[in-house]
Subunit: 310 residues, 2 copies
């Protein structure tokens, strides 16, 4: 049983209440606590030594990543993060300076985004360091783009460049908070999420939630230099395009808008964020699958995050 | 460096913001999101296999404990829990039925207290099961008793009976949510917290936060049957009273009120909660230490949670 099957099984019959706007299944939970114009966003995320980072990572990078991941989920909802709690699972022997440097990495990121670290706890996790961060934020009521909002005909956009994140970016990426809020405040974004499991896999989640299909344009996919460098170093013969489709940990925004908005949005983006690439990579359709078009025609992309690509 | 020293070091210079009413250092963070009459409570807590439960525990008990611990912290603030997120750190090989039964234990408790489980995530923690639960709740503005509110002359109360929790209660205790809200709604509770590290250690935290001292009455401490049974089984000769003072994981409420309120409060409590013991165990004073009075006179209680008691 893989992670997605397990989650599907666990979330079948969760207790709910009247104030839950969106429960399990989107980037954040969305809660209506009775504020006049804001919803509350609630998210938790954990990083584990040996899985999300290695012992070669600097403590500041580990702290940065531990907080940046849930902030990226707040970004995916076009939200503003406000408060964080930090749970540290520490090895039996730990170096207090190392732990303080982890906090240093979190503190720097938190300060840039106005996030207060309001507590947490320490426990023992004897074999490996684990950090779980919970974040509370808010978003303008009704202006949080969900995964389920994609519509046939929408243009599909992605920020930045994809693939090869594990060569470095996954430790120092900046969550796209400012960009996401600007997008949701300036255009009718139909659907949005952050890319954590890889473009193909995450887009598949969006299509499933929205009950639509999509076709990507192979030559439009923004392949990162790291994906190209990684492909050169690989003996598997895996292409840079496959890395950009499947690698994961990109933490870029994936979103859709009505096709008529695509050009005005691109123009406005270039003025607002001239340093950050934004690319239209394909189109939502009324089908149910995910296909990719290249010089040889249209092929189907299969499986969760991993694609069998000739 | 012990846990308390590390936390003191990490929380020296945390990023803050205007909406934080109470940050690190109390049972929950308290946040003012702009609701007319409510503050938001925010708490996270983790349980780890081999530390907070053994492999002998039933999965339903593990799930119950994982959620009940942060709910007990919401109770300590006289709050109402509303939403929870669950992070599962699963061993490399896990049994999906076992994991689903963990959720079953959480679900039953969540339903009793109107808590919606609004998502979470699964990750791998190869050597041992870890569950981190984050909870969001609310409390009437200005009616959340903090650790720092104890005043000289206050009567000190504790609910239930103390000690020996690890013989069983720690896996099936009920967080004192109804009782705490009734207390804060009916009386001017000066200070409140839940007992997780042991009465002596936790009361010490309250005294430190309030800059006061206290004297306990040895014969008033409500010693549980489990503490007595545990003491009989021990070769160390540790007394049941010491177990009640130091064992931890009681998850009872510890609170103080002005001495003039003590008798009316006890009378009203007996009518409201006839099944649950409430005991006045001592008095806050203007000093700075924690002492205990028994037949032989007054002795000092020392150290964090552990006392050297003759």
């Amino acid at each position: 049983m893989n992670e997605f099957d397990l989650i599907a099984r666990l979330t079948r019959s969760l207790p709910a209440n009247d104030s839950t706007v969106v429960g399990a299944g989107d980037d954040c939970a969305v809660i209506d606590l009775g504020l006049a114009d804001r919803w509350v966003l609630f998210k938790t995320d954990a990083v584990v030594e040996g899985i999300h980072f290695t012992t070669a990572a600097l403590p500041e990078q580990i702290g940065h990543k531990a907080l940046a991941r849930p902030l990226s989920d707040i970004a995916a909802m076009a939200g503003t993060p406000a408060h964080a709690l930090v749970t540290l699972g520490l090895r039996e022997r730990f170096d207090a300076d190392f732990v303080e440097a982890i906090y240093g990495g979190m503190r720097a990121l938190a300060c840039r985004h106005g996030v207060a670290i309001v507590g947490g706890e320490t426990t023992t996790n004897p074999e490996r360091l684990l950090i779980s961060v919970s974040v509370l934020g808010t978003v303008t009521k009704g202006r949080s783009p969900l995964r389920r909002g994609a519509q046939a005909g929408d243009a599909i956009f992605v920020t930045g460049e994809l693939g090869g994140s594990r060569l470095g970016k996954h430790l120092d990426f900046e969550p796209r908070l400012f960009e996401a809020r600007w997008l949701a405040g300036s255009f009718a974004i139909h659907s949005m999420m952050d890319i954590s499991d890889g473009l193909a896999g995450d887009l598949r989640h969006m299509l499933h939630a929205s009950q639509v299909g999509a076709e990507l344009l192979a030559e439009a996919i923004p392949v990162s230099r790291a994906a190209k460098a990684g492909a050169r170093g690989e003996t598997s013969g895996r292409s840079p395009l496959l890395a950009a489709l499947a690698d994961g940990e990109d933490f870029e925004l994936l979103f859709t808008v009505a096709s008529g908005e695509a050009v005005p949005l691109l123009d406005a983006w270039k003025k607002q964020f001239p340093e950050l690439r934004l690319t239209c990579i394909g189109r939502i359709n009324a089908g149910s699958g995910l296909t990719i078009r290249d010089k040889r025609g249209v092929q189907t992309l299969t499986a969760h995050g991993y694609v069998h690509f000739s």
